[in-house]
């Protein structure tokens, strides 16, 4: 490792532009003749559209066009789709309701787009949007998934009777039932996983530009995967054929999953640009973000975990209802199924598992993947259950976990996953030591003297990243492959551009990916540029989500680098009249091992392009591409320990210690990894203590601003104690597992386990707000 190579704590190259205001986001983009759009949105959660009168709006100052769903349909623009087919256990395909980019006939949640107004200024567009007269006939709404399944609940889509989208199962029900029937102890828990709003710092935005001269469209959009956006918009939404559509995702200010999906606005802006003859820009305001960004989580589950007389887990049965909101977002179906139930074995050797999952339409914002996507739901469910089981069995939560850990690898779980490597006890030990677990009771006693309730809780999580291989996910219903592409272009003077199909929206790829290249050729970081986010530059890619960019995206770069290195060595061997096998690359030069013969890298590159003296038959140039399709998921795992103090008078919870011991496999840049863990824990603590999206009975979002939606702030969090103890991932060339979501996955159960430990009651749901903790503390002392 050099000072800038693999394993080095290099400061992020991209941060200079971000923190000096020089970043270029969609809202910074200006195209000649560009105008501004505002969307008319439904104020009702459920209603039929009786009439849309745009005449008053059209006459407003500055208005260029007002367009509705009727015109959109007339132009053949398609409905939004969910790209992962799930079949119910009776074999029927999921019941996908129609989602028109502009509503036709009915609206199904507050914020549903009904019309677009294009005007000279943003203010004029908004003024005119308010002047669009929509006559609605309101209908009864339902917002809770459990209620939507009840008889007599409002019917939301004609395609999905009783609002049930699918009723899916995984595992062996008979085996799980048998384990429960013959168990020495069964722990039964009801789990509620709260609904969250993603809250990326940059709101969603789209700039659609139709070029009449070229008959070509360009879309600048806040996307985590511009290539998928192009593919879906051309293949399914009929916006334009792929060769006539360029999608650019420039600097993007956070996504957390919410910017994976294709939303109505980018489709409508592209279409509206052609209809009105002007480039059309839309930027969401914060209220629109709250209302229309795909929300996360929102599960209710019943769990039964069976133990034998030695406290070994013999079976697990889970029944989950997942709220998918008013429409099926792009990957909404795989989150509560293959990204969730396949992780229900956790770190434990569980011989029998069965999970049943019902997904449901409600009159709420669509729900899709949010940092962790399914794995936080599985982890919260399992780790709450383990902690409760330990308390019921009267054994140490750490020892109950340790007793049930998987210790032999590879390990085939009863729910598809084949764990390739891991050392769960190592993480547990590291976390317990860092947390001074043994000294906790002393700290608890000291806190009691101060009138505070102190508690400790842990969570041993496992997750699956780098979802793959493509053939396997295809067989499970995925509409796309999950490989990644890379192209390494060595310029004639030896500087390098790396084109990647991954997309960076905060992850630091411009630094870590460059470190990989610097390491390989011994070049300075500054001579390497990472290019991403533009379908005209990068041919194809699958984007960034699911902690895949290290394990999959960088592996593709490794493959391309291998090819570049092989060709460079051939040229070097030819130039130095040596055997190809004797060429080594050191400190920016190609050398003949054991001699003083050397060709500097820049000279080698120049030789490749002057082509004056290449090996016979070799093509000029030094540029190679690769596609990488992993052979397996990767399995990051770890142990988190949280310690809290509660003020019983107010219910306020202070996190006084938070320890994270992770196994991420090999690490390229420890500083960036720590940053990912810090951010993930902040979001996990947010879910556990602070964040919750609430609708009222009529379907109005009560938490539609920061006045009511509690984002984690710096003073809600302690300094984290993070460490890693790594087992390299055997399934990719770098041994990387991924770290982007672990913090958000492992922390919520650790926090709630700590609070319930302090209170002596399990009766507490997330977010554990002061009011809830106060009430739980009172109820617990009354008992």
């Amino acid at each position: 490792m050099g000072i800038e190579g693999i394993g080095a704590r290099v400061a992020r190259k991209e941060d200079r532009r971000f923190i000096t205001g020089a970043g270029r986001y969609v809202d910074d983009m200006v195209v000649p003749g560009m105008k501004h759009a505002a969307f008319v949105r439904s104020p009702h959660a459920h209603a039929d559209i009786k009439k849309i009168d745009v005449s008053r709006a059209k006459a407003m100052p500055g208005v260029i066009g007002v367009l509705t769903g009727k015109e959109l349909k007339a132009d053949g623009i398609g409905n939004l789709i969910c790209g992962w087919m799930i079949h119910s256990k009776d074999g029927t395909p999921m019941k996908m309701g129609a989602w028109s980019p502009l509503a036709v006939g009915s609206v199904r949640y507050v914020g549903d787009a009904v019309a677009i107004v294009v005007a000279e200024t943003k203010g004029q567009a908004r003024d005119a949007a308010e002047a669009v007269d929509v006559t609605y006939k309101e209908k009864k709404a339902v917002t809770e998934a459990v209620d939507a399944l009840k008889k007599g609940a409002p019917q939301i889509h004609p395609e999905a009777e009783g609002n049930l989208i699918f009723d899916w199962e995984i595992g062996d029900a008979k085996a799980a039932d048998a384990a429960i029937a013959s168990a020495a102890h069964v722990t039964r828990v009801k789990i509620h996983n709260n609904r969250l709003v993603p809250n990326a710092m940059e709101p969603r935005a789209a700039l659609g530009h139709y070029d009449r001269g070229e008959d070509h469209y360009t879309c600048w959009t806040t996307s985590q995967n511009p290539h998928v956006a192009r593919l879906v918009m051309s293949a399914f939404y009929n916006v334009a054929p792929e060769n006539k559509l360029r999608v650019i995702a420039p600097d993007v200010g956070g996504g957390f999953g919410s910017k994976i999906y294709i939303y109505p606005e980018e489709i409508v802006c592209l279409w509206a640009s052609k209809k009105t003859g002007v480039p059309v820009k839309w930027v969401a305001d914060r209220t629109e973000s709250f209302l229309t960004d795909a929300h996360g989580r929102d599960h209710v589950s019943e769990v039964e975990m069976a133990f034998d007389k030695d406290n070994r887990i013999t079976g697990l049965k889970v029944d989950t209802i997942a709220n998918l909101g008013a429409y099926m977002s792009l990957f909404s179906s795989c989150v509560p199924t293959y990204l969730y139930a396949t992780l229900l074995s956790g770190q434990y050797d569980i011989p029998a598992i069965h999970a049943n999952v019902r997904t449901v339409y409600t009159n709420t914002a669509p729900v899709d993947a949010y940092r962790g996507a399914g794995r936080p739901e599985a982890t919260y469910l399992l780790e709450r259950t383990m902690e409760i089981a330990a308390r019921e069995l009267g054994v140490s939560p750490a020892e109950l976990r340790r007793k049930n850990f998987i210790t032999q690898f590879p390990h085939q779980t009863p729910v598809i996953m084949n764990y390739d490597a891991g050392d769960y006890a190592a993480s547990l030990d590291a976390a317990m030591q860092a947390a001074d677990y043994a000294g906790f009771e002393k700290r608890r006693a000291a806190a009691k003297k101060r009138g505070r309730l102190r508690g400790i809780g842990m969570a041993s999580y496992i997750e699956a990243c780098g979802i793959a291989p493509s053939a396997a996910v295809g067989s499970l219903g995925a509409g796309v492959g999950l490989w990644e592409s890379a192209e390494v272009r060595v310029n004639a003077v030896g500087t390098i551009e790396v084109l990647t199909g991954s997309h960076s929206h905060g992850q630091g790829h411009e630094t870590t990916f460059a470190q990989l290249v610097a390491d390989r050729f011994g070049l300075p970081l500054d001579s390497i540029n990472i290019v991403h986010g533009d379908t005209d530059k990068v041919q194809m890619g699958m984007g960034t989500y699911g902690s895949r960019s290290g394990a999959v995206g960088m592996s593709a770069i490794v493959k391309a680098l291998d090819k570049v290195e092989a060709k460079a060595k051939k040229i070097a061997a030819h130039l130095m009249e040596a055997d190809e096998g004797d060429i080594v690359i050191e400190n920016g030069a190609l050398k003949v091992a054991g001699t003083d013969k050397t060709v500097p890298w820049f000279q080698l590159a120049l030789a490749a392009y002057t082509a004056h003296n290449l090996p016979a038959g070799m093509e000029p140039g030094l540029k190679e591409g690769a596609f990488y399709d992993p052979s397996n998921f990767t399995f990051p795992a770890g142990c988190y320990i949280c310690e809290v103090e509660i003020d019983p008078e107010t219910g306020r919870t202070d996190i006084v210690q938070f320890v994270a011991a992770d196994d991420f496999g090999n690490i390229i840049n420890p500083m960036i990894v720590e940053g990912q863990v810090h951010g993930g824990i902040a979001q996990g603590v947010g879910q556990a203590l602070l964040e919750g999206a609430y609708y009222d009975g009529s379907g109005q979002l009560l938490t539609a601003s920061y006045m009511d939606y509690t984002m984690p702030r710096a003073d809600d969090l302690p300094s984290f104690k993070v460490s890693t103890s790594n087992t390299p991932c055997p399934s990719n060339p770098l041994g990387i597992k991924g770290c982007g979501e672990a913090g958000a996955i492992g922390s919520p159960p650790a926090v709630i386990n700590a609070i319930t430990d302090a209170l002596g009651t399990e009766n507490l749901t997330m977010p554990a707000t002061p009011q809830k903790v106060w009430a739980a503390a009172r109820a617990a002392t009354r008992h």
Partner: protein
């Protein structure tokens, strides 16, 4: 935001003249009005900025009498050395309003004229039995604060200053709303010659109010221990997503205790 014309008043008479415009609004920091305008919930055609009027600015401590100009920012109140010596509780209160941006923009006059039911200053002024000096009259705080976002101010009437007598002891404690960090319940207690007053903000469903059970207990003994076992009714308290009336009733007592501890600390 809808389009709006901004006027900077140079004097009170200038402000009075400008205020004759239809539906014009006074702006004194704009910490509530500007966000409301940005979300299109308020749409005044004209705003008249009062914060550059010299006679509305500044803090005077004269013997036991304190006068704070209406356009004095929270940061100025928080950091005024003379005021800190006379009545540290109000400086402490001001230092915990919003964030640094709010404290350097928001003013005491703007805050009390808006009378947000979760604002901090109304509790202080009510507990301190302060006098509100306007362009037309002088009013006791008790008469000034009328209800949710409602005051005794008439059209065109401007708050010039607030005045109060330094109490023997005073303290403020609030429990912030986790999201907005406005007071979910805040209690200001003051003990002086005229007795004990305890005013509660953030909790009442009709805005700031005096808590008689708290005052009665503290009148007997101005110590936190005097509030052990005291409860206040949850009737008339707000109930929302973040706090039920019952929880707020608990917080009134707990915050009162902590305010007394701060006052006697």
């Amino acid at each position: 935001m809808y389009s709006v014309t901004y006027h900077r008043a140079a004097s009170l008479s200038d402000a009075a003249k400008l205020a004759k415009k239809d539906e014009a609004k006074f702006l004194s920091g704009g910490m509530t009005l500007i966000p409301a305008m940005k979300t299109r919930l308020a749409a005044p055609p004209d705003v008249i900025d009062l914060t550059h009027i010299a006679e509305l600015k500044g803090i005077t401590v004269s013997g036991k009498s304190v006068t704070i100009g209406a356009a004095t920012t929270h940061a100025e109140v928080a950091n005024n050395a003379k005021l800190k010596a006379a009545c540290p509780a109000i400086c402490h209160l001001a230092s915990h309003i919003g964030d640094p941006h709010v404290r350097h923009r928001g003013t005491i006059g703007g805050s009390i004229a808006n009378n947000d039911p979760a604002a901090d200053y109304p509790a202080a002024l009510l507990a301190l039995d302060a006098t509100i000096v306007t362009t037309k009259r002088e009013l006791a705080a008790e008469k000034f604060f009328k209800g949710l976002f409602e005051t005794a101010l008439k059209d065109g009437e401007i708050v010039k200053a607030v005045r109060f007598t330094v109490p023997a002891k005073a303290g403020y404690a609030k429990f912030p709303n986790p999201a907005s960090r406005y007071a979910m319940t805040g209690v200001f207690v003051a003990s002086g010659k005229e007795g004990v007053r305890a005013a509660v903000t953030g909790a009442g469903d009709d805005g700031v109010f005096r808590s008689r059970p708290i005052e009665a207990a503290l009148a007997r003994n101005f110590e936190a221990a005097a509030l052990e076992g005291v409860s206040v009714p949850s009737d008339g308290l707000m109930s929302d997503l973040h706090a039920s009336a019952e929880y707020r009733a608990n917080l009134v007592v707990v915050m009162a205790k902590r305010a007394v501890m701060a006052a006697t600390g």
